[in-house]
């Protein structure tokens, strides 16, 4: 057995120690301010410690040499999410049957699985799986449409399982393969912002992109449509190095926005609320204004975790968790959280930079862009900088499907970042 380069593991260990420390500090605030000590307060820390230890062992066993900082930042955010969910009571440890208790271990498990399956040379499997992935996403959307239940403007399957989350990754995989297959067409556009059209391109786009989009329109998940198309736009721009795509896409986005505003009742309501939430303050504007009220009472330094009243904001634990963070961690705490996200995205783009294989690069771009845009849309929506999209805040929002999907995405990025050569 040859000796591995002794760099990775100590670095990994140190980073993990920092994550654990930061998590303990955040968690300690909750315990410190809640006053009375209860043994229950130990559970998030213990659970997180166990998860961290398992990840560490698994990575060590795999001889993981990928991006440790990316993983650590994601785990830090997930740890923060764990504390916040514990604070909201969505983690109910005396109810072992509640499956949201196991969202973090499940997510980490899926991440490790994705990493183990696709690391190293097997990243190519992803390219081969991309057309089946598109087919699978169509199937998933079809099933959701047929069997799903409507709740709060979105569609869920039994037990508030939201399978449309999976579609995000599947369609980004397909988009990456589309970019590679029609690389010339994209790199030599017939007009600025319009790829050289061919029958094959039109059929592929129509069948595997526009068809799922149509299904999403029927499901009325406008936020996901916006996210996927914006991601595609960035992927094309980054793959070709042509800003004309971004420009044309931006114009198309504005046109589509007007279209939505005038023709889709669900969407026009959201745009109207965004432009003037005070017009219907006690109706449609209620949620966003309550979220902003939470922020205003947070001020610079916040009330401290567990000491605010974010439960006055509808869906505070899920879509509006950022308002709860703003109230309890303050403007300063929000800045640190956003910084953590930005560092995470920066690591993601560094991974994409390092890819030699065009498909791997396009995929890495797509995955990290989607995570970044989802974060931007969520935070922008809660702060009223952007219209509400109904997207979750990755790693922190309540919602098992969202957490597992985010970790699966992270697993793929880690797999791409790991140059493991089978010796």
């Amino acid at each position: 057995m040859t000796r591995e380069a002794p760099v990775t593991r100590p670095v990994l260990g140190r980073v993990f120690a920092v994550v654990l420390l930061a998590f303990a500090m955040v968690w300690g605030v909750k315990v410190g301010l809640a006053g009375q000590w209860q043994p229950e307060y130990l559970w998030p820390a213990l659970g997180f410690g166990v998860v961290l230890a398992l990840v560490w062992v698994a990575l060590a066993l795999m001889r993981f040499r990928g991006d440790a900082l990316l993983l650590s930042l994601a785990l830090l955010l997930a740890g923060l999410g764990l504390v916040v969910q514990f604070r909201f009571g969505t983690l109910a440890l005396h109810e072992p049957a509640r499956w949201s208790n196991y969202a973090l271990p499940m997510g980490v498990g899926v991440m490790l699985l994705a990493l183990a399956v696709f690391r190293g040379p097997r990243a190519r499997w992803l390219e081969r799986a991309s057309v089946p992935a598109a087919l699978l996403s169509i199937a998933v959307l079809g099933v959701v449409l047929l069997l799903g239940q409507r709740f709060r403007g979105a569609v869920f399957l039994g037990g508030f399982l939201n399978p449309t989350e999976v579609v995000k990754i599947l369609l980004v995989m397909y988009a990456a393969s589309l970019l590679c297959a029609y690389r010339k067409a994209f790199e030599q556009p017939m007009l600025p912002g319009v790829p050289a059209l061919s029958g094959g391109l039109l059929v592929s786009v129509g069948l595997f992109w526009l068809l799922p989009m149509g299904l999403l329109v029927l499901i009325r998940d406008l936020g996901l449509i916006a996210l996927l198309n914006a991601t595609l736009l960035v992927m094309v721009t980054l793959a070709t190095g042509r800003w004309s795509y971004a420009l044309a896409g931006g114009v198309a986005l504005v046109v589509a926005g007007f279209g939505v505003h005038h023709f889709v009742p669900h969407g026009s309501g959201r745009l109207a609320v965004w432009l003037d939430p005070f017009a219907d303050a006690t109706g449609k504007g209620w949620q966003v204004l309550q979220g902003l009220s939470a922020m205003a009472s947070g001020g610079w330094w916040g009330a401290g975790l567990g000491s605010g009243h974010p439960q006055t904001v509808p869906i505070a634990a899920s879509d509006f968790v950022y308002a709860a963070l703003a109230e309890e961690l303050g403007f300063a705490g929000c800045g640190l959280v956003l910084l953590a996200y930005l560092l995470l995205f920066q690591r993601g783009y560094r991974i994409a930079d390092a890819m030699r294989d065009p498909y791997a690069q396009a995929l890495a771009n797509g995955l990290i862009t989607m995570l970044a845009l989802q974060t931007l849309f969520n935070v922008g929506g809660v702060t009223k900088a952007l219209p509400l999209t109904g997207l979750t805040l990755p790693f922190i929002s309540h919602g098992g499907s969202s957490l597992v999907t985010s970790f699966a995405l992270l697993g793929l990025l880690l797999a791409l970042s790991d140059p493991a050569k089978r010796a």
Binding site: G241, A296, S297, G380, L386
Partner: protein, 520 residues
């Protein structure tokens, strides 16, 4: 002005978006200018996109600051938080509500220093009807209700208010709402309440030249600090919550004769009419209208020979029912009604147009009269029958006469300029009428109102009611040549105007003199 603001507000999000886009473009341009390093083009565009992303997050974070740290500058947001924020420790709960002050800066309502939101009313019951109350249990009333958003600080109609609100935020630790300054004089108001003590009635004092309401009192009153369920469910006759000055409708009785006299003078007529002791029968099968001297004599078992042939001045001084019933019929029912419309009977006037409501009052009520309704015209001309008026309405009638026929809108705050509400008659006729009303005080039913040096002119009124004692009225102005103050008083079931209402009015006039309202 407000349209312009609304227009701008509509485009503001787009302007903001354009600004952010321009900022992002600038940063990107800077980024590319230093991009001559030997970095592969792909890497460069990755970095550029990450920079774009960072700028976007920064923009969102900066925008978050405008809510989280500077949310107080957004007045609709402050309003929302005040109304719907259920946090016990919300910063908006520390905001101080504005004060209500009188014309000399005397505070009529302010926040308790220890409990923002709990109101203190230094005058207590004395100004309760005008100022109203703000109570966590019983809600709002009066000016506290009419200008609630203004006092709270989230109604900013004008740019001046906006900038004052901004200054409050910057300078004061606890942001403060707007102060409401009234035209009321707390000293006159208190005197009016003192004079009305124990009675049921109302007193109004106006500056006829500007319409400034100097006193607006209604009795019985209530203590705004001690609201209780009984107040709201009590006997309607006593109901202290009712602002009788603005809301009470009473037959005006003889005070209404002033308006009939005004019409005659407007036509240049001062007829001499025969007033026999037997009274005047305006229409067949109606009881005769008689003078009060007839009944006095009847009660005393004496005989009374009637006023004989008298003119307008004597008829006013003696308050002759027979004369004015005849005069009313002679002038014509329709013109009688028309003239009442010129004095805005059947209309309501706005004393204060607040940010969330208005303080309004009816002048009176006078159902239309047609030609030929002689009996109704005769009754109306002596202020009986179907004519009703509020104490403020009768005071306004006096104010119009005092101001040479120019009726100024009664105003509770000096926020708006004096405003001409209606032209009610020619200056010459009004001057003549004032001289005749001076005669009422020097030589008639209002003799007791002749405060030395004030040249009071006025008219008493004793209005019959279906039940109980008569309502007592007195309206007056001083000085007669160029009146500076008009006072109207009503005492419910007080008896004679000259004994019940008149002393209240003279008391107010004396107080006003003492306060210097008649000095130079």
């Amino acid at each position: 002005m407000t349209e312009w603001v609304q227009d701008a507000a509509r485009w503001l999000p787009w302007v903001k978006a354009a600004f952010l886009a321009a900022l992002a473009a600038l940063l990107l341009a800077l980024w590319f200018r230093r991009g001559r390093d030997p970095v592969a083009p792909k890497r460069r565009i990755h970095r550029a996109f990450f920079a774009f992303l960072a700028v976007a997050f920064l923009a969102v974070y900066a925008y978050q600051a405008t809510w989280q740290l500077a949310g107080f500058a957004r007045t609709p947001f402050v309003e929302f938080m005040k109304k719907y924020n259920r946090r016990p420790d919300s910063p908006v709960k520390r905001m101080v509500r504005g004060e209500i002050r009188d014309r000399n800066g005397v505070v009529l309502a302010h926040d308790d220093a220890d409990f923002p939101g709990r109101r203190v009313y230094p005058l207590g019951a004395a100004a309760c009807h005008v100022v109203g109350y703000l109570d966590p249990k019983y809600g709002m009333a009066g000016l506290e209700a009419a200008d609630h958003p203004f006092l709270e600080g989230y109604s900013v109609a004008t740019r001046e208010e906006q900038s004052r609100f901004g200054q409050n935020l910057l300078q004061a630790q606890a942001p403060r709402g707007n102060d409401l300054v009234l035209t009321l004089d707390a000293r006159l108001q208190q005197e009016a309440m003192r004079l009305l003590a124990g009675r049921t009635g109302a007193a109004v004092a106006l500056d006829p030249r500007t319409g400034d309401v100097l006193a607006l009192a209604s009795a019985p009153a209530f203590d705004p600090h001690k609201l209780a369920p009984g107040l709201f469910a009590g006997n309607p006759d006593r109901s202290p919550l009712l602002n009788r000055a603005l809301q009470g409708l009473y037959p005006p009785g003889s005070t209404y004769k002033v308006l009939v006299a005004a019409l005659a003078l407007e036509r240049g007529e001062e007829p001499v009419l025969e007033c026999p002791p037997g009274g005047y029968v305006a229409a067949p099968h109606t009881p005769p209208i008689r003078d009060h001297e007839f009944y006095d004599a009847q009660r005393a078992g004496r005989a009374w020979g009637g006023h004989g042939r008298i003119g307008l001045g004597r008829a006013l001084a003696k308050s002759s029912n027979v004369y004015f019933a005849k005069l009313g019929v002679q002038l014509g029912p329709a013109s009688l009604w028309d003239h009442a419309q010129r004095f805005l009977f059947n209309e309501s006037v706005t004393l204060h147009d607040g940010s969330s409501g208005a303080v309004r009052a009816r002048v009176g009520r006078f159902p239309p009269l047609q030609e030929g309704q002689r009996a109704a015209a005769a009754q109306s001309a002596i202020g009986q029958g179907e004519v009703l008026a509020t104490p403020l309405g009768m005071t306004l009638l006096a104010a119009a006469i005092a101001n040479d026929g120019r009726l100024m809108r009664p105003r509770l705050t000096a926020r708006t300029d004096p405003e001409l509400l209606a032209g009610c008659g020619s200056p010459a006729a009004m001057r003549r009428l004032r001289a005749l009303l001076r005669g009422v005080v020097t030589d008639g039913t209002g003799r007791r109102a002749d405060v030395p040096g004030l040249e009071v002119a006025g008219k008493t009124g004793t209005a019959q009611t279906p039940r109980g004692e008569d309502h007592a009225w007195f309206i007056c102005m001083a000085p007669q040549a160029k009146p500076r103050l008009v006072v109207g008083v009503l005492i419910e079931h007080g008896g004679y105007g000259s004994t019940a209402a008149l002393p209240v009015a003279t008391g107010l006039l004396r107080k006003a003199e003492e306060l210097g309202y008649f000095a130079k």
